[in-house]
């Protein structure tokens, strides 16, 4: 039952980049890049099985043991705080979690700060450390419009180039933490498939050094 190392990849460009690193590290499965409608692909010779899953679900698959290994953004790890090992910074998908506000914004400390975000736990933790009283407005998308239409004072969101913010009259006022894709592992899978996990880690490190 242990013959396959199960790896959850986030659907999209980040997952494709991560797969490229994995196949160079000795875990190829060529069908991964041409899956058709299939979401589970395996290479018996290499002892690896890949799943394509929604990026925000990768940590759940790994924490619950459906996957032994996963590729997950630091933003999701901070938000969901899954009980997993974080084995490596893959150095891809770099961006940052930031606080943004309309140009010229100043924080009025006499009032509760209204914060719109998809990352409620991240925002709460950030402002708790700063001792700032906030009102979280949880949104599932288009967070940038919240300050413009008066729904929130600031937003806490992922910023890559800042173009979307600028086009909506917002600017970054604070970086919360840098983000990149991390290699995560299920705690039990790490132990029972240790040889394969170690081989993957060594392969990834060697590939990074060869760059």
């Amino acid at each position: 039952m242990n013959e396959f190392l199960n790896i959850a990849l986030p659907k999209g460009r980040l997952g494709e980049k991560a797969y490229d690193m994995f196949q160079k590290a000795g875990f190829p499965c060529p069908e991964v890049l041409n899956p058709g409608r299939r979401l589970i692909l395996e290479n018996t010779d290499a002892g690896v099985r890949y799943f394509w899953v929604k990026p925000s679900d990768v940590a759940i698959y790994v924490e619950r043991g459906a996957a032994d290994i996963g590729v997950c953004g630091k933003d999701t790890l901070e938000e969901q705080a899954p009980d997993v090992y974080e084995l490596m910074d893959l150095g891809i998908g770099r961006c940052r979690m930031a606080v943004a506000a309309p140009g010229g914004f100043t924080d009025d400390r006499s009032r509760t700060l209204r914060v719109a975000t998809k990352f409620s736990n991240v925002a709460e933790n950030h402002y708790r450390k700063a001792g700032r009283d906030i009102d979280i407005i949880h949104l599932n998308g288009s967070v940038e419009i919240a300050p413009i239409i008066g729904l929130a004072d600031v937003i806490v969101d992922i910023v890559e180039t800042g173009t979307t913010l600028r086009e909506n009259g917002l600017e970054v006022i604070e970086t919360v933490f840098p983000i990149s894709a991390r290699l995560i592992a299920n705690k039990s899978g790490y132990k029972f498939k240790h040889e394969a996990v170690r081989k993957l880690l060594d392969g990834l490190r060697n590939a990074a050094e060869d760059k």
Partner: protein, 314 residues
């Protein structure tokens, strides 16, 4: 009494088998009240796995709680006698709020506590019983073992600020060596110390592979005594047949206020989470004003729900 063992569920069979195992080693069943004064948990919040507690006011106006933990109640009520070894086991339900859930859950635990004049012999006995507990489930199992004092001595050289210790422990627990290094650098920690901590945090494997590597790092940070105690405990299991199930893992961490010395985590093949947690907790004893030493572990019965019990196991 007419009784058919086949009428029991698998988790009931596991529970009874564990109780039988502990009783055969001279452990006595310890029954406790369902409720406990809330104050006990408020004062030892960091000892609890889940800090949310169900409370209510009793008829006398006292704030009470449904037990979120068993060890605290046993330790509190036990007479402090350092001259004897008390061997106790329990089969109790605790009430906790699982991570990510808004609701409380009733969780069944079976475990044991060895309290009093606890020495190397008792420590080896408890580790052996932890292995036997998992072995009876009929699947491949691994027991991660560490001595918290090795890592804590190293962290002590870096900082004694509780918040900073917590940040470092969190990253060690995640095997997050890359962030551990960045965090230590940001705090101006000497490169040599960072290297030693990273080396310890990254070690994992069979005792014969890992202990020689850990010896050097432990000596350099002044944790030779803790290393020796870990090596002696592991060595004591060499003849038991469970030596091959042990893995040395310094990422097993715990709050220094409560835990010290040997620490255990048990895993079963096919179950994604840790099913057995335990170790030495002399710090908790001290906090509760006791001179006695203590070691114990708990098996989370709920996490074993999906296991099919081998018929020879009962």
């Amino acid at each position: 009494m007419n009784f058919d063992i086949q009428s029991l569920t698998d988790t009931e069979k596991i529970t009874l088998s564990l109780r039988n195992l502990y009783a055969s080693y001279g452990y006595r069943l310890y029954r406790m009240a369902k409720f406990e004064e809330y104050e006990l948990y408020a004062e030892n919040k960091d000892f609890l796995v889940s800090q949310n507690v169900i409370t209510f006011t009793d008829a006398g106006g006292k704030l009470m709680a449904l037990k979120p933990d068993v060890t605290l109640s046993i330790v509190k009520s036990r007479r402090d006698d350092t001259g004897v070894v008390d061997r106790l086991y329990y089969n109790e339900n605790v009430f906790r709020r699982p991570k990510g859930s808004q609701n409380f859950k009733e969780i069944m635990q079976v475990g044991l506590e060895c309290i009093g004049a606890v020495g190397d012999r008792e420590t080896a006995e408890v580790v052996t019983l932890a292995c036997k507990s998992l072995d009876m489930l009929g699947r491949d199992f691994i027991v991660d073992i560490s001595n918290l004092d090795v890592v804590n001595t190293c962290i002590g050289l870096i900082t004694d600020v509780p918040g900073e210790r917590k940040e470092i422990l969190k990253r060690i627990g995640e095997k997050n060596v890359h962030e551990l290094s960045a965090y230590a650098e940001s705090k101006g920690v000497a490169a040599e110390l960072i290297g030693q901590l990273m080396e310890l945090a990254g070690l994992y494997g069979a005792p014969e592979d890992v202990l020689p590597k850990a010896l050097d790092a432990a000596r350099r940070v002044g944790a030779s005594e803790a290393y020796d105690s870990l090596a002696a405990t592991v060595e004591a299991l060499r003849e038991s047949g469970y030596y091959r199930n042990l893995r040395i893992d310094f990422s097993v961490v715990g709050d220094v206020t409560y835990y010290n010395g040997i620490t255990l985590r048990g895993f079963i093949d096919g179950i994604p989470e840790c099913v057995l947690t335990g170790g030495r907790y002399d710090g908790l004893m001290e906090r509760l004003g006791k001179q006695s030493k203590a070691i114990g572990f708990a098996v989370n019965i709920d996490s074993l729900e999906r296991i099919r019990v081998p018929s020879a196991g009962c």
